[in-house]
């Protein structure tokens, strides 16, 4: 059987993937997009081809901006493969993926990884209880199903998405008991020196302030400097209360749904599995692939754009996708170096403007230590149920990195393959050893990055 060939294969159909696809095909490149989701949009524009909610004011105009990206991509005539999980890529850029239980393979001249972000794991006591979920999850339920969480509802965490989802739920008429802001004291001072950069993106800054005002006006209880979160179960094991501390006292709120959020981090599962070079981002407290200014990784021909290259948001992702696609077209001789520089100057400036606000946001919303290096009793690996204390005692016994603690405790060995414990485990080890996280490293991720069935493997063997 002949393997279909493409000039450019893009993994992920969020803002970076969609805009890259559109730009690349405008240069006459043959483009395929492999998307894990059932429809384009990524997480930020999830279900944008058929939004569930009738009232468009609930999610707001930023969400529906995705329609423009989607129609441009459709018009460009890109081969779009939905529900396709990539599980390995060879050094010759043969890409193996499974779709509806069947495995297939395509070949690319250039590969663009645009797999976006995942929410940062938020370990605290009781975070595994039924009823606790991420703010991102609640937003996905809104976008693709029009479902709103069961009350009483509490939101807890830090960062712009916390405020956004609170405002969206409030617009939808959902009652919110309280918002617990876990941003530690002193962050305003710390972030203030980055304010000049932030002012370069005034609209975004004002949007954030606008959300705060909207929530205050709605009369929602807003609790600052909340610490030591503890979710408590009822006698059937379901979430029933949330305990927290403030300066003055320890308080308890009734809640059946708790939405948590501590920012997002690049989804590095695939870039790790492909053994691209990564670096530790101290301000964002996460790993990201090491890239040149056009997004090309340590492996020639493999590019990364959008939030999977470092968190910068949806608009930045859109611009990065375009710039990277232009560069790829130039490498494939569709345009000259001069034309490349000319054609990318404006988008480059727009991208810089988007990126200028990041240091301010990152300094302001860096998670509190209790979420980065949780207390001993807190589960860090949800799959294998390993606590922070177990990791610490393994370090005391001589484990120096996540792959060793994995071998001894199984932390990182469950179905999520470390997606929800990798950062925490590395940070605990670094903290115990008093060394930088970059020295401790990350799990060795092996392919397939998604569990495969024997049937899917057999397809390929044929």
């Amino acid at each position: 059987m002949n393997t279909p060939e493409y000039d450019l294969v893009i993994i992920g159909a969020g803002p970076a993937g969609m805009s890259a696809a559109t730009t690349a095909s405008s240069h006459g490149l043959k483009v395929a997009i492999l998307d894990e989701q059932t429809a384009p949009g990524g997480q930020i524009y999830r279900s944008i081809s058929s939004p569930a909610i009738a009232d468009e004011s609930i999610l707001g105009a930023d969400y529906y901006h995705g329609r423009a990206l989607l129609s441009a991509m459709r018009y460009a005539g890109v081969d779009y493969f939905p529900s396709s999980s990539v599980w390995t890529v060879s050094s010759e850029l043969f890409i193996s993926f499974s779709r509806e239980g069947k495995s297939s393979k395509i070949q690319a001249k250039k590969l663009l990884i645009a797999t976006g972000a995942q929410e940062r794991p938020v370990p605290f006591l009781g975070w595994t209880l039924p009823g606790v979920m991420t703010c991102g999850a609640a937003q996905i339920l809104l976008k693709s199903s029009g479902l709103t969480p069961a009350g009483p509802l509490v939101l807890a965490g830090s960062g712009p998405l916390l405020l956004l989802i609170a405002a969206q739920l409030n617009r939808a008429g959902v009652e919110i008991e309280a918002i617990l802001d876990t941003t530690p004291k002193g962050r305003y001072l710390k972030s203030i020196r980055h304010l000049p950069g932030a002012l370069r993106n005034l609209p975004l800054l004002l949007k954030g302030l606008g959300l705060l005002t909207e929530l205050k006006r709605a009369g929602i209880r807003y609790i600052n400097n909340a610490e030591q979160l503890k979710a408590l179960p009822d006698d059937t094991g379901l979430l029933t209360k949330l305990q927290y501390k403030t300066d003055e006292s320890t308080e308890t709120l009734n809640c059946k749904t708790l939405l948590v959020h501590q920012g997002v981090v690049p989804n590095v599962q695939l870039t790790r599995a492909l053994q691209l070079e990564h670096q530790w981002d101290e301000l964002q407290q996460c790993w990201k692939p090491t890239l040149d200014s056009w997004g090309e990784s340590s492996q020639t021909g493999i590019f990364v754009a959008g939030d999977s290259s470092g968190i910068a948001g949806a608009r930045a992702a859109e611009y990065m996708g375009e710039l990277t696609a232009q560069r790829i077209a130039q490498q494939l001789d569709k345009l000259s170096q001069e034309t490349l520089l000319l054609q990318t100057a404006k988008t480059g400036r727009l991208l810089q403007q988007q990126q200028a606000i990041r240091p301010f946001l990152d300094a302001m919303y860096q998670p509190a230590d209790e979420f980065l290096k949780p207390s001993d009793e807190t589960l860090v690996c949800r799959c294998e149920e390993v606590t922070a204390g177990q990791i610490r005692s393994m370090v005391a016994q001589g484990c120096t990195g996540p792959n060793q603690t994995k071998a001894f405790s199984r932390a990182g060995m469950g179905p999520c393959q470390g997606r929800l414990c990798g950062l925490t485990v590395a940070q605990i080890i670094a903290d115990e050893r008093q060394v930088p996280v970059s020295e401790v490293g990350y799990y060795q991720i092996r392919t397939p990055i998604k569990p495969l069935t024997i049937g899917e493997l057999a397809d390929l063997a044929e």
């Binding site: 529900s83 693709s144 029009g146 479902l147 069961a150 379901l238 049937g455 493997l457 063997a461």
Partner: protein, 126 residues
């Protein structure tokens, strides 16, 4: 049996509605809902129990990251519910003590199995 407070549905754009069976009970869900969303809409909590301690879990991220949404769907164990669209007649059951995907469940494989599989040795996988 659905037992917890269900998630509520806002007025939605027109779409087909399909009937799925959650622990045997018929539930109408919107086309475009995932199996995990269906479980939340029906109020089934927990939707799985862990293999280590048997503690209850429900879908956590809904974007394919956490694997807390493992369900038994149409008789197949350990299906990632948030990545599986609801379909007419789908039988959804909570996943009890989900085994490791590579233990004693011949239908799924993980990296360690692949490493040892003959298919890899024949060089057709990578």
């Amino acid at each position: 049996m659905p037992n917890a407070l269900p998630f509520e549905r806002l007025p939605t754009n027109n779409a087909e509605w399909v009937t799925v069976y959650i622990e045997g009970q018929p539930v109408k869900v919107r086309q475009g809902d995932s199996a995990a969303a269906a479980v939340l809409a029906a109020g089934l909590q927990p939707s799985r129990t862990t293999v280590v301690s048997g503690s209850g879990r429900t879908p956590y991220c809904l974007m394919g990251v956490c694997f807390e949404c493992l369900l038994q769907i149409d008789g197949v164990e350990n299906v990632q519910g948030c990545m599986t669209p609801a379909r007419e007649g789908m039988q959804i059951m909570s996943q009890k003590q989900a085994r490791q995907l590579n233990d004693s469940n011949p239908s799924t494989l993980k990296p360690d199995d692949l490493k040892n599989s003959h298919i890899k040795k024949e060089g057709t996988v990578v």
